[in-house]
Amino acid sequence: MTVMSGPGAPGRRGGRVADSLPTGLRTALAGGLTGALAGDADPAAVSGYGEHPPRMGFFTDTSVCIGCKACEVACKEWNHVPEDGLNFTGMSYDNTAGLGADTWRHVAFVEQRKPLAQQEPGTGGDLRWLMASDVCKHCTHAACLDVCPTGSLFRTEFGTVVVQEDICNGCGYCIPACPYGVIDQRKEDGRAWKCTLCYDRLGAGLEPACAKACPTDSIQFGPLDELRERAAGRLAQLHEAGVPAARLYGEDPGDGVGGDGAFFLLLDEPEVYGLPPDPVVTTRDLPAMWRHVGVAAAALAAGAVASFAAAAVRRPW
């Protein structure tokens, strides 16, 4: 992967509160401890970008996914993600098993005893095969970024979340922080890896490799506002066509992560696809905790100063 900007440079502009704090937390503090969790946040602006492009993201419409896995392959080709083993899983046609350090796009295959999505009821058997291409959600409130101590994870000017391979020190804090279980450590080098939303392609005005390769436009890339509009239209269309179970996932800015930069149209409950039903940014309570820590630290510092002062007073010379 080519890193297109300096290590966390824009993010670093976010504030001077305490350079030793994780980038995201700095951002949160800079943006106001309560405002940072507001649903309509513009994460790039909150991160300190002045003039910046609109927030970009993915809308993955699983109702038109044909399970060809071109996204998985295109992603690996473009990003030089290594092959990760020949494993016959027996999980329908899914031999990738899930997102991980070496799988940044993953197509789930779910065989169900339910009628086809748009089939006329009562005919044609009772089988359907759901396919869905999963990816990093590029959360509005990204816990991985919050906890990264090195600034390897940073918010880009497009509002996406990217990990820089030359900065990551392999501490692994981000892995349990992700509410979706997306970011992962590579065993061979210990570093954390995940989808960059093809940051290097975006910088060159190209769409991400997976979206480019998707033959049915199941993966759509664009400004998040536009994608949300398109998704609402598609959802209404499906509801009208008699698919009441169709729903959007990760699209709501009011959800526990402030809405996802990569959201989905699903035909069933999120759990069916292996997605958490109600994800919450794991660092939600951190600002409050840090506030308490700050108060405690200030008290400690005051105590220390006082003791130095006292010591000075008591200095024998």
Binding site: I66, E77, W129, P215, T216
Partner: protein, 860 residues
Amino acid sequence: MAECHPVGFQWVMEAKARGAKLIHVDPRFTRTSALADVHVPLRAGTDIAFLGGIINYVLENDKYFRDYLVAYTNAPVILTEDYAGTEDLDGVFSGFDPQQRSYDYRTWQYEGLEVQAASGERDQQYEDKAGAAIRQSGRGESHGSGGPAIPAGTPERDATLTHPRCVFQVLRHHYRRYTPQMVEQICGVPPEIFQQVCELLTQNSGRDRTSAFVYSVGWTQHTVGVQYIRTASILQALLGNIGRPGGGILALRGHASIQGSTDIPTLFNLLPGYIPMPHAHANETLDKFAEAESAEKGYWADLRAYLVSLLKAYWGGAATPGNDFCFDYLPRLTGSHSTYETVMAQLAGDCKGYFLYGENPAVGSANGKLQRLGMANLDFLVVLDFSLTESATWWQDGPEIETGELRTRDIATEVFFMPVAAHTEKSGSFTNTQRMLQWHQQAIEPHGDARSDLWFTYHLGRKIREKLAGSTDQMDRPILELTWDYPIQGEIAEPDAEAVLAEINGWDSRGRPLASYEQLNEDGSTACGCWIYCGVYADGVNQAARRKPSGEMNWIAGEWGWAWPANRRILYNRASADPDGKPWSERKALVWWDEESARWSGHDIPDFSAAKSPFYRPPPDAAGAEALSGVDPFVMQADGKAWLFAPAGLLDGPLPAHYEPQDSPVGNLLYSQQRNPVRQVLPFRHRNNRMQPSHGAPGSGVFPYVGTTYRLTEHHTAGGMSRWLPYLSELQPEMFCEVSPELAAERGLEHKGWATIVTARNVIEARVLVTDRVPALTVAGRRLHQIGLPYHWGGAGYSTGDSANDLTSMSLDPNVHIQEVKGFACDIRPGRRPRGPARAELVLDYQRRAGITEQTGMEI
């Protein structure tokens, strides 16, 4: 289609988004089914019964497009009294010769006229027309000599469609027992689903609406494959869905440019542009050949001009009127030389050398063991491929080395491996299924020693010509006099692919590029490498390289690439207008007769003489295109009509009838004739190609299940382009079989465990994927289980596994010599297969249990 052609499937999805209904008929529930409105699981090998049932529905419920049918098809034409069909003869047609196992087509004729097929076995009539005595060869010539001269005049017609011998009534009689109940019994399709398909299809066909059929090798790879497609043709002609936008029958080919490889053929019996390859007829001359092969009417009447121009492209100045334009230089057929007969010739020691251009028959062709044994009996083998495929390495570590049936030190075949350039490393064209050529430019130089096929063929020819230079042997003249002067370029001396395209397009005597095949002459003043491609290099411009954005042209997108013939995007599009030349409806308007300019006009380029009025009627003595009237849209047919009934051209009957596959656990419920009586099996009698007893015969219970082979999105055909790539291999890492939970319970198969699959040919092992997507069917009152077998794997590469094609047999369609691998009886048992000599022993044991001899399955 989503499974094997995901990129093309985007257009189906787009149609769906606009409200199109998608019906998917497949034994398995695939990625296509997942996106379909209706999935119809049926027993593999029963599509003629299914489609025949729809034909019966259309006829009995008056759902056909009557105006189209009467005007543009041969429905009103009256047949001679000599014709008798399968209803009268219990499963065979009149003219059947049980001795020769072939049909004499002459009883399948129109009253008052004999016609030739536009393509296919036109040579069938050679003897009748040319009067030569031909006995020995393998196509339609073996029907005896002599016969009637071609009668003049027009066929008798009954526009009311009520004459008992008119094609319409014959068709009705032929399919009257293809009822929904029969469809259910044969195919395992419940009547309510069948009814739904019939309704969806007929409601979406007519003046205002059209439906398209899309098929792949699921239709072709049967002993009745051609008749599968014929059944669809009949249905589409009845519904008026041919020659109109949104209609047609689309053949999805096996991989990129397979259409191109039939247009500029890699087939033994065709020359470029579907001109038949001449047979070794006694005393044959260009005149006699052209006379026998030309149709009286239609564009095939100009065959001589196409052929002479081809000979001029091959031999240039050496081809003169005085030497029949070197017609004698063309090789001659002495029978069928299909890929499978070639294998038999290898085993017999007659075929000594074999070139495999990107083909991996050790995995991809039927009966892999025989393929490998054939190659083990060669003098030399040349494999041109990206990777060391099983066809390049069988001598070292193939399955027969493991079983001890072959020993490397005993194999005399000298094997050459030539690494080849990928499409990104060379320029050239792809021809897609809609006959559209798209040019691709070289992006990078080939890596290492890799070279393009064009490079290899050109330089091989050049070296052979250098070796033969100065020879006075007559035999060497066809090689020495070839025009073999393509410009070469770059460090690796790559021939200029565009120069080849220019030669295919053709030029006049002054070297100016031709613009249309109508300019081709039979006097040697034009040269053209493939008449149907004439125009692809019009004005000296590579028309196939055009890439005009869709927003800058109309919806037919005629300036993207170039389609043969004459850049027409929809063939036979005269049929999109009514007999008076007006569109059938505004919604489906494509081309129409413009009174003012007195020309055909429209969105597409008319596939019709531009100035021929709809009201033109030919004078009685007219010939060729002139002889077609203004209401004859099917211009390549001798009578200009779509054929519901094929009076000539097919070796296995004028109408499709349901026959069971070669190896089937089910009996034919329609006729006592179990299998296609003229299927090709006799030439392949071999101890490693044993057939199995079918339904009812003793021993047939040994193979109670139906196997079917197919591809997966993640891999490509025999794996040469995918199993060596880690990113694709990890997506489908090993050979597996798909079975229903019911079959798994019946045979004790464990999900993710191993299964052993057996036929009379071989035994393989596969991981087990238990899935509802391969449903058990109720067929003829019993439960029938099918076993899904992807055919990608072999022993070489990064992802390996046993080959499904080791199970399949050489039993072929008689018309096009395609193997039956889409439906065959087999057995399955839990666990891995035996290793070493025990592997072959297990197959012999099955053969003994089923009482298999060399006669088994060979009956008519």
